[in-house]
């Protein structure tokens, strides 16, 4: 048992740091800081990802044969931590870490050749078609229908909470190809070109009130959309298996580096906030205690993550225990957002619809204030998406505690 990284890992860490320093420009930082939901327009994300691609670091989790970074598990951890610590844009996961692993595992050679290189080079933007208005946590009840017409599927239905579908070239969808007694058994995994006739994307404005085109989610409608039969992944009616594989692939994100960054931001805000008598909010012991309690929770997260990472490095399997990461990581993240709103006091009230708009008037209150309250509202999604935290607790209960 020991802490600390080996010399070659520290060298790698420094490489990552200098890459971020050179590539994550002040302009990008500024643009990203204007976002109310963590996304900052297609151009910024594509530009960022293309520079990762040029460095060979776009795909830390891909096998090298497909152009993966070839990181050791320690390097992966370091890479992810450094990115989060600096608040660098997250790589958009839908192509890179959602559909790509499924294509690699279950796709045909033609599908691999057609889709994987463009994902790696960020030439094609993907979105995810899973949830439907009537199918949230109970995903298997989905209704969006695809009829096999020989050379194509005819798709009718709707997908919801489709993150950044407004930028997407392609969507991967779970569709119902047959009515079976067990709902999981009639689901297929389809890749659909967003330019197909019959597809309509409607923005859904969420609590952060980011206006078009900066909305985070959409509803996608399919009306008699023809999808070539060769866009089916694997076998018809086996989509649920592929979807589950994808979920397993997604486990094990490091939350703590980003959360530490949140603590640092919070302290900066508190230091900048006067409470009278020449004191700042950072001198207020009641508030400071909340920051410290939160930081201690992040310490605990950090070492839960390090234990999981150490087990992975040793070649051990990490199972549903990692649900703890999603659950605690998002709960602490929300608490940080709550504290930020608390810190800025009345400056949480003014509403700025388009924070990206170049307005010539000075900001109302401190320039960082406009995004804090929307971020707090937007952050409520984190305990709902990717399997709500209640679902995560069900998973731990069943798979870890055996209840």
């Amino acid at each position: 048992m020991q802490l600390g990284f080996k010399e070659e890992d520290i060298k790698f860490r420094d490489e990552v740091r200098s890459f971020i320093k050179e590539t994550f420009t002040d302009d990008m930082r500024k643009t990203l800081s204007l976002s109310k939901n963590g996304h900052a327009g297609k151009d910024l994300h594509v530009k960022w990802q293309k520079s990762l691609y040029e460095r060979g670091w776009m795909a830390p989790n891909w096998p090298e044969q497909y152009g993966g970074a070839g990181f050791t598990s320690t390097q992966k951890y370091i890479f992810e931590s450094e990115m989060a610590r600096e608040g660098a844009p997250r790589t958009i996961p839908f192509g890179l870490s959602m559909v790509a692993p499924v294509i690699m595992e279950f796709g045909s050679q033609e599908q691999k050749d057609k889709f994987l290189p463009d994902i790696l080079e960020s030439n094609v933007w993907w979105c995810q078609g899973y949830s439907e208005p009537g199918s949230g946590s109970d995903l298997a009840s989905l209704q969006c229908k695809a009829e096999n017409k020989g050379d194509h599927y005819l798709v009718n239905g709707t997908k919801i909470w489709t993150t950044m579908a407004q930028y997407a070239d392609w969507i991967f969808c779970l569709v119902r190809t047959s009515k079976t007694e067990k709902p999981q058994e009639g689901i297929s995994f389809l890749l659909i070109d967003m330019k197909s006739p019959g597809i309509e994307v409607r923005p859904l404005i969420t609590l952060d009130n980011s206006p078009e085109p900066h909305q985070e989610v959409n509803q996608v409608f399919f009306e008699d959309v023809k999808v070539p039969i060769e866009n089916l992944i694997g076998e018809e009616n086996k989509g649920w298996t592929y979807a589950k594989y994808l979920l397993e692939f997604e486990r094990g994100t490091a939350y703590s580096p980003g959360l530490y960054r949140g603590i640092k931001n919070l302290k900066d805000i508190a230091r900048d906030t006067s409470i009278g008598d020449g004191l700042t909010l950072l001198d207020d012991n009641d508030f400071l205690n909340k920051i410290n309690e939160c930081e201690i929770q992040i310490q605990a997260m950090e070492f839960v993550e390090l234990r999981i990472f150490s087990a992975l490095s040793a070649g051990q399997r990490v199972g549903p225990e990692s649900s703890i990461l999603k659950t605690r990581g998002t709960e602490i993240g929300q608490y940080l957002q709550e504290l930020a709103v608390e810190a800025i006091g009345y400056w949480s009230h003014p509403f700025v619809e388009d924070t990206f708009a170049n307005v010539n008037e000075p900001s109302i209150g401190p320039d960082y204030a406009a995004t804090i309250t929307p971020e707090y509202y937007n952050g409520r999604k984190t305990t709902i998406y990717a399997g709500s935290n209640e679902i995560q607790r069900n998973i731990i209960s069943k798979a870890v505690l055996g209840l």
Binding site: Q2, F5, L288, Q299, F303, S397, L401
Partner: protein, 375 residues
């Protein structure tokens, strides 16, 4: 970065586990607690035979030269058995002082610990000081070659069993100054030392100790006169790391017992573990436990770091463990229903021990303040 245990460490864990299995099932433990002495000398002898009493001492001093990870393993397994024998008090805390003392003191006292002859306790707390280690009214003044000690020490854990004490005293300065604190070794039989022993709610024993012109040789001073505060804080942090380890052992037992109980206890025609509201409570207990394990590893691995890092590690761990101790202890009783309320079931006894750990060496508020000022 590596959190795996070596073969040697796993062997050590297995040794303690079989000791607990053979000598420390709940009934045996309760018999020990209810005995007149409140601990079992035979167990202490076994600790000596197993080498546990020499664990952290250097080979030069006759010990095994093990580190904090090994101590963590022992304390964690002792926590699972609710062991009352004062291992942490003697070996980790007082042993921690002695390891850092002069060659003369090491030579004089460490063999007695390793052989199992001597049991030690650390007398530091005073009623007015609460958790402030520097708030001392017990004084020692040099008179020729002897220190004369006057004062009062409270809730000295393991006091009734100890024949030697390490005592924090003020040799100079104001009541709460960090300067002017000294660390002295005092024999229990010293003239002028009077002691009142009593049981504690978690099945252990403690003492109130009054010093009235207790005279000891100045050779019994550990470290430099007046410069003891830093050493005391270090030893207390090492002790915190050990009791956090003990706590995660106790939490593990409570969590396992609760899950097991909810799988078997039937109400409304089904095992109560089928109720989602109880499942989620148990998942929260599990997550609190996992976070506590992580913090315990952290503090044990960071004891040798520079001050601010160590301070944050120890206080952070203590805050997490205290919160988890309360949540897991209370939830275990709640989920066991009426049975959880009985003295007969082990659950309440783990709850009680965890509650005592919660505020030993400083409660949540105290350590949040320490964390805050660590820099």
């Amino acid at each position: 970065m590596d959190f795996s245990f070596s073969e040697e460490q796993t062997l050590l864990r297995n040794t303690i586990q079989s000791f607990i299995q053979d000598n420390y099932d709940f009934d045996k433990r309760q018999a020990i607690v209810k005995s007149e002495e409140g601990m079992k000398q035979e167990n202490w002898k076994q600790f000596a035979e197993l080498g546990l009493l020499g664990l952290p001492f250097s080979e030069e001093d006759g010990g095994l030269n093990f580190g904090s990870v090994e101590t963590m393993i022992v304390a964690e397994e002792f926590g699972k058995g609710l062991v009352v024998e004062p291992y942490i008090q003697t070996v980790v805390t007082c042993g921690g002082f002695l390891r850092r003392a002069s060659a003369n003191i090491k030579e004089k006292y460490i063999p007695g610990i390793i052989s199992g002859e001597d049991i030690w306790a650390f007398a530091y707390a005073e009623p007015q000081g609460r958790y402030n280690l520097n708030d001392l009214t017990t004084t020692a003044t040099l008179d020729g070659d002897n220190y004369i000690i006057n004062g009062y020490k409270s809730v000295v854990s393991g006091g009734p069993w100890a024949n030697k004490f390490i005592v924090s005293v003020r040799t100079a300065g104001g009541q709460r100054d960090s300067d002017g604190i000294s660390v002295l070794i005092v024999d229990k039989n010293s003239e002028g030392l009077s002691i009142r022993d009593y049981p504690t709610v978690d099945g252990s024993r403690a003492s109130e100790i009054t010093f009235e012109n207790v005279s000891i040789s100045k050779d019994e001073l550990i470290g430099e006169e007046g410069k003891g505060a830093e050493l005391i804080e270090l030893i207390v942090d090492e002790t915190i790391a050990a009791i956090c380890s003990e706590a995660i052992g106790a939490m593990k037992v409570l969590n396992d017992a609760t899950v097991e109980y909810c799988k078997t206890r039937k109400q409304f025609g089904q095992p109560i573990g089928k109720f989602q509201v109880l499942q989620h409570r148990m998942v929260d207990m599990f997550m609190q436990y996992e976070q506590s394990v992580s913090m315990t590893y952290m503090v044990n691995l960071k004891l040798d770091e520079e001050y601010a890092e160590r301070r944050k590690a120890a206080s952070g761990a203590k805050v997490q463990i205290a919160k988890a101790a309360k949540f897991i202890g209370q939830s275990a009783v709640q989920l066991h229903g009426g049975m959880g309320m009985t003295d007969e079931l082990n659950v309440g006894h783990y709850f009680k021990r965890l509650s005592m750990i919660e505020n030993s060496y400083g409660n949540i508020d105290h350590h949040l303040k320490k964390y805050s000022t660590a820099g």
